[in-house]
């Protein structure tokens, strides 16, 4: 017998209270194309061994970075992950996804988070980093809210060269907050249009949000943007979706950024179809009380020994309720630990070397592809490990040809931008061998001219 706790009358009352007429109305936000329009049809029961083999057969149909040569980036990057990371995070002392509710009793966890925060500060050139957010996109949205808190202003300029999914997340967060979101167009380099920026900046502007490198892989001139936005008293929010780039580039902090957020997946966290990932978030000292999330600080106990505590917890939700700085009251503990181990393993020299390999391989691929008849690089800005390619035959046919040869050649930009049906985004990391890159180039060349 099935036990269903709610009577029809219960359901009717609950629906009336929230102001909808049917249970289906509660799912209206989910596009109908993604919703199952019939009852779920499960097959007959299977034995454990039958089930395993069935699931394995299904899984084998997926194209992954293990089965294909992958040149996919766009916010999720195929980097080498040392085996020691999995080994260390599996220790039971670390095995919690959250910051503990009685934090000070877990000194090891707090120390690991403190080290993580320190590493993020060093990479971004900022004064303080929080204990982490869900992912790059939610970190980006929280940075917008922080800029609004810190400045008391309500107008936000969003670079159109930001990751389109990050932009969608920002719009979702801000939908009912009565903020003015203004799009800044892209210039011929593939960066945020500087002239348009100057036109749109005013003394009501809380922040400019731009990418470094941006969604098209282009390295923007942050110092010019910082000067412009500081001149009107706003903040520069820098979004880093591929932080391996910070191994070579000047830190956003050195260039004048005020809030730096990004996606930490590149630091030893597997692609795993899009999550769980890691949002990193860092800011300047003066704005620290407007920063969302948890913060671990170093102190000394009554006997003078080094210890770790949650800092500024008085501004968190469990104490400050609806007046809390943000409603983030935990962190991506395990993913932050993975990033900490990765960064500690590689060290300064190691990160620089990985970044150097990414740049060199991407430049090699760029040169070869640009030389192919029928292909060009439409954006002229400098890039790191990602770049946009234009195919005369169209992006979709070119990528389809590559896929038949076992190559995931890139992300078609038509998915996000109307009128870009010939363009796709190619990413080359240290995981792509020279043979793979040459195979990509010759497979592209094999097409229609």
């Amino acid at each position: 017998m099935r036990y269903i706790p709610h009577t029809a009358e219960d359901v009717r009352q609950m629906l009336e209270t929230v102001g909808v007429t049917s249970v289906d109305d509660l799912f209206a936000e989910i596009p109908s194309s993604l919703r199952l329009q019939r009852p779920l049809a499960l097959g007959e029961p299977l034995s454990e061994s039958e089930l395993l083999s069935k699931i394995r057969r299904l899984a084998a149909q997926n194209a992954t970075a293990d089965t294909h040569a992958s040149f996919l980036g766009g916010g999720a990057y195929n980097h080498f992950i040392p085996a020691v990371i999995d080994q260390l995070i599996s220790r039971s002392e670390f095995y919690t996804a959250y910051t503990p509710y009685q934090p000070e009793i877990s000194q090891g966890t707090l120390q690991a988070i403190f080290e993580y925060q320190t590493l993020i500060c060093q990479l971004t050139g900022m004064d303080a980093a929080n204990a982490s957010m869900y992912d790059g996109a939610s970190g980006c949205a929280e940075a917008v809210l922080m800029a609004v808190r810190a400045t008391g202003r309500r107008r936000i300029l969003l670079s159109s060269a930001l990751h389109p999914e990050y932009l969608a997340t920002v719009r979702t967060y801000c939908r009912y907050l009565d903020l003015e979101l203004v799009d800044v167009p892209i210039d011929a380099l593939g960066g945020t249009d500087g002239a348009a920026l100057l036109r749109l900046l005013d003394d009501r502007t809380a922040a400019l949000v731009s990418g470094y490198p941006n969604f098209f892989g282009v390295i923007e001139d942050l110092s010019v943007q910082a000067a412009a936005v500081h001149a009107v008293g706003g903040r520069l929010v820098t979004v880093v979706q591929e932080p391996i780039a910070l191994g070579l580039l000047k830190s956003p902090g050195e260039l004048g950024a005020d809030i730096v957020v990004g996606e930490g997946q590149s630091f030893g966290i597997p692609l795993s179809y899009g999550g769980p990932y890691l949002g990193f978030f860092a800011a300047r000292r003066g704005d620290i009380r407007s920063m969302p999330g948890r913060l671990v600080g170093q102190t000394s106990d009554r006997e003078g020994r080094r210890g770790f505590v949650l800092t500024l917890a008085t501004r968190e939700q469990h104490i400050r309720r609806e007046k809390a700085t943000s409603n983030i009251c935990s962190n991506q503990g395990l993913c932050a630990l993975m990033a900490t181990i990765y960064l500690a393993l590689l060290g300064k020299a190691g990160i620089r070397e990985v970044a150097g390999q990414n740049l060199a391989k991407a430049e090699y691929a760029k040169g070869k592809i640009a030389a192919l008849p029928g292909f060009s690089l439409p954006l002229s800005g400098a890039t790191f490990n990602e770049f946009v390619v234009e195919a005369d035959e169209g992006a979709a046919p070119a990528l389809e040809r590559l896929e038949k040869k076992g190559i995931l050649g890139g992300i078609p930009l038509q998915r996000y931008f109307g009128g870009m049906d010939k363009r796709f985004l190619v990413c080359v990391t240290e995981q792509n061998s020279r043979e793979e890159i040459d195979a990509l180039v010759s497979a592209l060349a094999g097409g229609k001219r």
Partner: protein, 128 residues
């Protein structure tokens, strides 16, 4: 614990010193003692229009973050610029150096709603 006779008090533990149309506002000795060491103060900008009973600033101690409420309506005409750099002044001198803002009062009748020192003392004894 001191409660100067010439001041007026609110149920949110602010004190008010009235001089003509100008009122100076801070938090009481009782409030600073309950909060403990004050580490951060957030004050409004000069020119801000305040409404009686609405928060105008924040006092953060090692224990809690608390709003500070406007005792009367009016315009902020001066803020204690020293306070953000020396928030501990609120602990050491709550009624003098630890003042927070000066308000140009818009409705003097609102002062009648405030407590005198005796009434405030009775109020906190009742609270405790």
């Amino acid at each position: 614990m001191e409660f100067p006779e010439e001041y007026k008090y609110t149920e949110e533990h602010e004190w008010v010193l009235v001089e003509d149309q100008l009122v100076t506002v801070g938090i009481t000795d009782f409030a600073q003692d309950a909060l403990g060491d004050v580490v951060f103060v957030e004050l409004p900008e000069v020119g801000t229009l305040l409404e009686a009973g609405k928060p105008f600033g924040v006092v953060e101690s090692v224990k809690a973050v608390s709003d500070v409420y406007a005792p009367v309506s009016g315009e902020v005409i001066e803020v204690n610029e020293e306070l953000p750099d020396a928030p501990e002044t609120i602990n050491t001198s709550p009624y003098e150096d630890g003042w927070m803002i000066k308000i140009k009062i818009s409705d003097a009748a609102e002062l009648d709603d405030l407590m005198d020192a005796d009434a405030y003392q009775a109020f906190i004894e009742e609270e405790a």
